[in-house]
Symmetry: C2
Subunit: 108 residues, 2 copies
């Protein structure tokens, strides 16, 4: 998959969405369901995010869709639940883009 830096920056430029992203990333990336959490112990699902933030479920869903659309987050259906998984590759791609611009200034 290829990542669009502008779309990634836009996704990260909203404080709510950035907080949601950080929460999903902290929740881990193994994606292994073991039945210990509402959906799993190594990742978060929609309900976890809804419970964590003071935002309507529809708003969480909208922000999450943006995170998925830009590649920052991946989803897996797990029965009733939607597992949200970090995709650090997208962040790394945007970070690399920034470094390229920084270096184009002659900063070495």
């Amino acid at each position: 998959m290829e990542y669009d830096p502008v779309e990634i920056f836009k996704a990260l430029s909203n404080p709510s969405r950035l907080a949601i992203l950080k929460f999903i990333y902290k929740s881990g990336m193994t994606g292994t369901f073991d039945g210990e959490g509402p959906c799993c112990a190594q990742c978060s699902c929609m309900g976890d995010v809804v419970g964590k933030f003071d935002l309507a479920p529809s708003t969480i869903s909208h922000h999450t869709r943006e995170l998925v659309r830009t590649g920052l987050v991946r989803v897996e259906r797990d029965g009733q639940f939607i597992r949200l998984l970090p995709n650090p590759e997208a962040l790394e791609a945007a970070s690399a883009f920034m470094n390229t611009v920084a270096e184009s200034s002659g900063d070495r």
Copy 2:
């Protein structure tokens, strides 16, 4: 100076503003006036940017102000001209922030 990642991401999330930033960065960062360009040969001034993009001067001015406000660009007055200088430190700060989030996922 400290940099606000969210404000930097917002500044980078507009295609016009990102293009202006890239132009300023490519124009260099020495900030040494030698009289060879409209304002200088190692950097760009407002007029250079206005001449490069198909946007009204007031729009360029507004975007530049955002870039300066977030720390991505520095300005120096040079007589009639305003020199625009890259500040890669701000980009590096935002890039480092992204890497921290990426690493919080367990990606090592």
